[in-house]
Amino acid sequence: MNALIHRLRATGPLISRIVAALFGGYAVAALSSVAVLALPMTKPQAVLTGMLASFAIYAGAVIWVFAVRSALKAWAGLIVVAVPLSLAAWSVS
């Protein structure tokens, strides 16, 4: 039991980061691709801009997640970015 807890302690933050990178990163990219609709552009151009930029944002999020010092900080960063994006996305939906 103790050994299990120890293992979890050791790998937990890493798993947390992997989840943050795969799903958190995608979520931020997806949110930003919707948030673009708030920009003063025609709808088709805004939609395409959002799609085009999303992969750069996704990649940037993944780099962020593994570059910072702790898993907690990784999540915090994603959330800080996600909040305004969500507001912008919510305003256009």
């Binding site: 890493l14 997806a30 919707v34 151009q45 959002g50 085009l52 780099i63 898993a71």
Partner: protein, 542 residues
Amino acid sequence: MKTDNDVQVAGRGIRQSMSSLHTWAGLLLGWILYAMFLTGTVSYFKDELSQWMRPELPRLSQIPDQAVVAQRIADELSDIAPGTSQWSIRLPDARNNSVYAFWRTPAGNPGGRGFGEANFDPATGQRVTSRGTLGGEFFYRFHFQFHYMPVVWGRWLAGAAAMFMLVAIVSGVITHKKIFVDFFTFRWGKGQRSWLDAHNAFSVFGLPFHFMITYTGLVTMMALYMPWGERVAFKNPAEQQQLNAELSAFIQPGKPSGQKVPLASVEDMVRQAQERWGRDNVGRVNAVHPGDAAARVAVTRGEAGRVSMSPQYMEFEGTTGKLLAVREDVGAAAETRGVLYALHLGRFGDTVTRWLYFLVSFMGTAMVGSGLVMWTVKRRQKLPDPDRPYFGFRLVERLNIASIAGLSIAMTAFLWANRLLPHPLEGRANWEIDLFFIVWAFTLLHALVRPAKSAWVEQLWAASALLFLLPVLNAVTTQRPLWHSLAEGDWVFAGVDIMCWALAALHAVLAIRTARQETRSQFRRKTSREAPTAVASGGAAG
């Protein structure tokens, strides 16, 4: 796995974190990436490969008049697919000696995929009677949607692999503090160092290309991967159509009137497009509800001579041939997407440009391959017992052999199957593909049962032999042997034959180099531990 040190990223410098990220993002889908890179690389010559795989079809010494051909195929399609709601014809050009067309089949057609497709002889308008084959199209489709799985799954898998690649590229660059200096460093015959230097050289030299090709690859299918903006923005089909019109030249099929009126002269429509874009620069002819009073025809501009896939087309009323509209530009974001898409496909270029694409892309393949091999080279030195490595190590080692050397064998076997399978044969095109996978599976089996180094050497030699003998097989089984192609100036056939020999030589060199390298355990027995870092692995390719 025994690499906890590599995995733990907390509390370390950014460079180590990025190094670990680079290693694992590159490895996890690395085998898929390698296959995508190699099949994608050869796809820059997919039209040429398709010609080679249909040897019965004579080469076009000059491009036929596209207007005449379009009319011919349109007539043929009205026989083959009467009452279709839509058809599309790709006209022959400098690289295609056949005409490809597809058409929608009525819903509820038994066993139907919803559409039919065929290649036609531009001279007669008849379906080509050459052997059943998917040609170079197989590698092209495999490159982004694989096989034996629903197309959408394959495309998602390709997207995931591309995203991993993008992360691997960015983290790889951050890892590298001396990226420019390292490019000019090469330490031959120094085992791990040499692998690292080779990997760096392949990566850094082609870096802009590798980054471009990965990002634009994602862009080609971005609507699948990131549909959310589209879902939120468009509330009805009419709005959705505004977006579609920015992306392709397919006209939205309205309601058919039910009144039968034959199509006006397609030849005249293409003639007008030729006047606008040049004689040989018409791409496709798309028709909706042909044969109905509500028919519309779009004639699109070819892909040559402009670096964009954005739709440019002339729209005609189907029954009268009256020009309704000319569309030659799209919005800024759509044009950006069109340019990125075109950069990925590289179809805008002439032969020289395509060769450059091929070479740099080949370098990208070598980058992925050397990266995969490096994973084992690096860890082999730290193995507690080199004769009995742990499971993860053996797995990577064996998968590397089958996905690198094995893929060369399988791809060549596909071309052998094209020459050896009887013709006609029911489902011949699928047999070629099945054989590709059967051979590939055998290489994996071989890699699992043989010692790693022997497996590498044997498979590299097998690939070399198959490649070397392919022009011989071609000479024996077709009327177009190499000397004939050279005399005729048929550079498609001569090119494929000569390329086979060049690749055979490359595989032979790799096989010889791999065979010469000593494994660590052998090395240890012979010498002391004076220079442990100077030892290469048994695995070598790329």
